[in-house]
């Protein structure tokens, strides 16, 4: 079943058209990676699909429902999560409180009393759940530190953790390994594959690093100047003549 069906997506800034009539589908439980050279429109496509901005034309269906005009927060309620290229965290808050806040948001969405605005301190159960989640990502040692003091890789992991705390069905990861050391990248690839295989999540990603791309993609879409030029099985896409020409044309494995 297709979790996301989008077609005709068009987005233009005053001086430049970034997306031109883009159609994309994301099947349930696939790991769909969007690649393309810088400026191809990957991040804009992400923004449009996640509801951060609205397209000027086109429609997006999520899980059978038309979500084109729904704001990001409403799509989150329906099970979409998203991380950013540069991790966005509450830097002044402790690592623990970052997670507790995400859990409180989840409780609010569920309408549970643990998320009501008049609660002075977060429910004990949420604090404990937060610690467990931190422990499973090896971040429990840093629970009391301000999030701003974390290393780059830990920040990205914490952001993923916040996103997962809401129990999404689909998560959109914008360059999840950007700026990471090779061993960290391999850990992220393993983690993402585990999420898909064990927890049944659907993933939509952008990525620059080809090793990462082919390590986790079950489907590959290539975007160039706002247009999709190929989409399908990663190996097939790799052999596509147009892709070879404009993307791998210079013979390298990196974009």
């Amino acid at each position: 079943m297709s979790l996301i069906q989008a077609h005709g997506l068009t987005f233009a800034y005053p001086s430049v058209r970034v997306l031109k009539d883009v159609a994309i589908t994301v099947e349930a439980n696939e790991s769909h990676v969007v690649i393309g050279p810088n400026g191809a429109g990957k991040t804009t496509l992400f923004k449009v699909l996640s509801g951060e901005i609205f397209p000027q034309a086109g429609s997006i269906r999520y899980d059978g429902e038309d979500v084109t005009r729904l704001d990001a927060w409403q799509r989150v309620h329906r099970g979409i999560g998203r991380t950013f290229q540069v991790a966005r965290l509450f830097g002044e808050q402790t690592v623990l409180n970052n997670v507790v806040l995400a859990l409180e948001c989840r409780e609010r969405i569920n309408g549970s009393s643990a998320g009501r605005w008049w609660r002075l301190t977060p429910a004990r159960a949420l604090q404990e759940e937060a610690m467990e989640r931190l422990a499973s990502y090896g971040l429990d040692r840093r629970a009391g530190d301000a999030a701003a003091t974390l290393s780059h890789g830990d920040k990205k992991r914490l952001e993923l953790l916040l996103t997962l705390a809401l129990h999404p069905k689909l998560i959109m990861l914008d360059e999840p390994t950007a700026g990471m050391a090779p061993e960290d990248r391999r850990a992220v690839v393993a983690l993402i594959n585990r999420l898909r295989e064990e927890e049944g999540l659907t993933l939509l990603l952008t990525e620059h690093d080809m090793e990462v791309v082919f390590g986790l993609a079950t489907r590959l879409t290539v975007l160039n100047y706002g247009e999709i030029i190929a989409s399908g099985d990663p190996e097939e896409v790799r052999r596509d003549a147009r892709v070879q020409e404009i993307y791998f044309g210079k013979g390298g494995g990196h974009a």
Partner: protein, 329 residues
Amino acid sequence: MPHPPQSRPFGVLTPLAAGLVLAAFATLPFWAGKGLVFLAGIVLVQIVFALSFNLMFGLTGLVSFGQAAFFAAGAYASAWLARSAPGLPFILSIAFGAAVGAALSFLIGLVALRRASGIYFAILTLALGQLIYTVIGKTTALGREDGLIGIARPVLDFGLFRVDLATGDRYYFLLVVAAAIISGALWWVWHGSLGRILAAIRQEPERVRFLGVDVRRHREYAFLISGTMTALAGALMAPWSQIITPMIAHWSYSALPILFCLLGGSARFWGPAVGAIVFAGLEHGTRNMTGMAELVVGGALLLVVLAMPGGILGTLARLSGRPAREGAR
């Protein structure tokens, strides 16, 4: 199973200090002169004003330059009602002031937050505030530029007995109690679940949005709560000063809470209260240095801003090795 680190939500020092200041305010009429008591009443109102403002400013990260409009709305609306219907219970006229402030801040928040952010939001609120200032100054029912004079202090009717707040320092004590209750309510909002979300919105609104929170709606909440409480402060001031002029809607009056917040430290709940008290002390201390007052107040402010970027409380916290902001514990 791992346990959360021992959280020290609220230390013992802050309530102790707050209690001492409250005690100082509550006992003031017994050991200070009439002028100082009156000034202290104004400072209490300004504390409520600044604490309300900081919910939007220091917590949510919205800079409004038109907050005085809500203060004036509360003051004028309650005074106008009390004057038009003299028999009405005091609590109703106060509630009416707060309601008018709520309606106004709801409307302005709805429009301004939809259209502008950052410095544009600040100037938009400034322009809307100046409009309200001008309209008040041209409205005959509100006394035009000369304002409303001779606002009566109310009589509280408890059925069995009546308390005439016009006698002695009774209205002052009412102000102390009201300021304590309102500050307590604001404290609750600031530290509670809603406050945590508002603080998160200040730091990283996009992340909050992707945690499923309607960010604009929550900014509107902050603006609304802040505007309503500010109007409440205005409504409380009218019977105390017994005269209100359009000056309380002027932009320079909107600058006051910003000043208090930054002076005391906008990152901490009690910062604005400290700022209001210190600023009043500074102004009162220099009141007879005519001609020098601007130099002294300006110099002191500049010094504080340059030498104490976290405000007074932020600097005290840094000196004592605590984090600059509450919540990071």
